[in-house]
Amino acid sequence: MRRSVSIAVLTMTLVVGLGAIGIGQRSVLASAQQKAETTEVKIDNFSFGPGTLTVPAGTTVTWTNRDDIPHTVVSTDGVFKSKVLDTDEKFSFTFSKTGTYPYFCSIHPKMTGKVIVQ
């Protein structure tokens, strides 16, 4: 566990370093592939966690509402829209195209998040 953390830190350092000199493209992709395992977004205490999720194209992301109050997952740009999710209900969407997908809860619009697809 400790070892994988230090690799992640090293990769981040590498990405930042290469990005700074303008040849970071390949390293950004490498780092995205590492993060791709996280495809779950949990809704807890009126917030999306993680608030920003980076995944490779083709990933299916699943949101689970763990609050006692219903929420929705609605793309700000109209790309996806869940039905209302009661407690423990889920919504999934597969991101096939790269890009940044901001979304929010249409019932509690202060709740916002985004999915970055690389």
């Binding site: 009126f46 006692d68 109050i69 219903p70 929705t72 209302v84 929010f104 509690h108 619009p109 202060k110």
Partner: protein, 322 residues
């Protein structure tokens, strides 16, 4: 109403008719009952314990109505597994009021998940209330999945656009506004351009002396924007109401009583009949607050409003279900 009474405003730093102590008191009264009387734009607030000392003229008017809010029919989580039971308790409370209310306002979140059977249950329970007329505005829980179509079919007859409307009762003008539709990412409640234009036109020909009562689900004042407890374009709506001597704004949404006076406008939020929510910023989120079962009815309630013609005063009394 002697000026030295200890429950009256003592320091009005912001010239808004309410001092910090008075505000904190109103906050502390959440769930215990309070009477606030507005006269000449100044809020005078008294705890319910002083009510017996006051004359009936001050607490009873020619027009009496009740506000209920946030029934959340269908909610079944630990914060209140029996929201039908507590709504029935609210009806018992309403039927026991000394001045029989002429009608009821329901300031939204009638249902929890916009399900037809949830609305049906509320309709059925409210049939046993003495006042038979109920005026509704939607909460965000009433317009899920269908942009409010079902709500409008059930409760929106005669309303405009997204469900807003106005009516007159005994010289007072009532305006029901909708601020839970088309909410934008990161934003608060929204009235929208079309509704604001309608509002401007609706009040244009009214006399300045007409008492105005505005009701909507999400507060029309900035209670706590961090939790979405406010309305983006409420300032524009209030600008149209500036000319009136007496404006009372009744909201729900935050599941606790709170009040504030700004110039000619008294803002008031009602308790829920279903479950309490935390005070602003006092919890990680505004989710349902679990209190010991025996305390639940003391944090739920109804709001009784009395208007005395010619006095420019609306008396707002919160009572708990306990």
């Amino acid at each position: 109403m002697a000026g030295t009474a200890k429950d009256e405003i003592q320091y009005d730093h912001n010239h808004d008719g309410i001092d910090r102590r008075g505000f904190l008191k109103c906050m502390a009264w959440a769930g215990t009952g309070a009477l606030c009387v507005m006269s000449g734009g100044v809020l005078k607030s008294y705890s319910l314990s002083r009510l017996p000392e006051m004359s009936s003229k001050e607490t009873m008017g020619e027009l009496s109505f009740v506000q209920i809010s946030d029934s959340h029919m269908g909610f079944n989580k630990p914060a209140n597994p029996d929201v039908a039971g507590t709504l029935k308790a609210a009806v018992v409370k309403i039927n026991a009021l000394s001045a029989a209310p002429e009608f009821m306002l329901h300031t939204g979140d009638i249902s929890h998940l916009s399900k037809p059977e949830e609305f049906d249950t509320v309709d059925q329970i409210l049939k046993s209330a003495k006042p038979q007329d109920v005026f509704y505005v939607p909460g965000e829980h009433d317009v899920l999945n269908d942009d409010g179509k079902q709500f409008l079919e059930r409760y929106g007859k005669g309303s405009k656009g997204g469900g807003w409307y106005s009516f007159d009762k005994k010289g007072a003008h009532f305006i029901g506004l909708v601020n839970v539709m088309n909410l934008k990412a990161g934003g608060l409640g929204t009235l929208g351009h079309e509704q604001l234009e309608w509002l401007e036109d609706d009040v244009k020909h009214l006399k300045h002396s007409t008492p105005v009562v505005v009701f909507a689900h999400i507060p029309l004042w900035s209670v706590y924007p961090e939790w979405g407890w406010g309305t983006e374009d409420s300032a524009q709506a209030l600008a149209y109401l500036k000319k009136f001597g007496s404006v009372t704004v009744l909201n729900g949404h935050i599941h606790q009583t709170m009040q504030k006076v700004e110039g000619n406008v008294t803002f008031h939020t009602a308790a829920s009949t279903a479950f309490p929510q935390p005070q602003p910023g006092k919890a990680d989120s505004p989710g349902p607050m679990k209190v010991p079962a025996e305390q639940l009815k003391s944090v739920l309630g109804i709001t009784d409003v009395n208007y005395v013609q010619g006095q420019h005063a609306l008396a707002v009394v919160d009572s708990t279900l306990a």
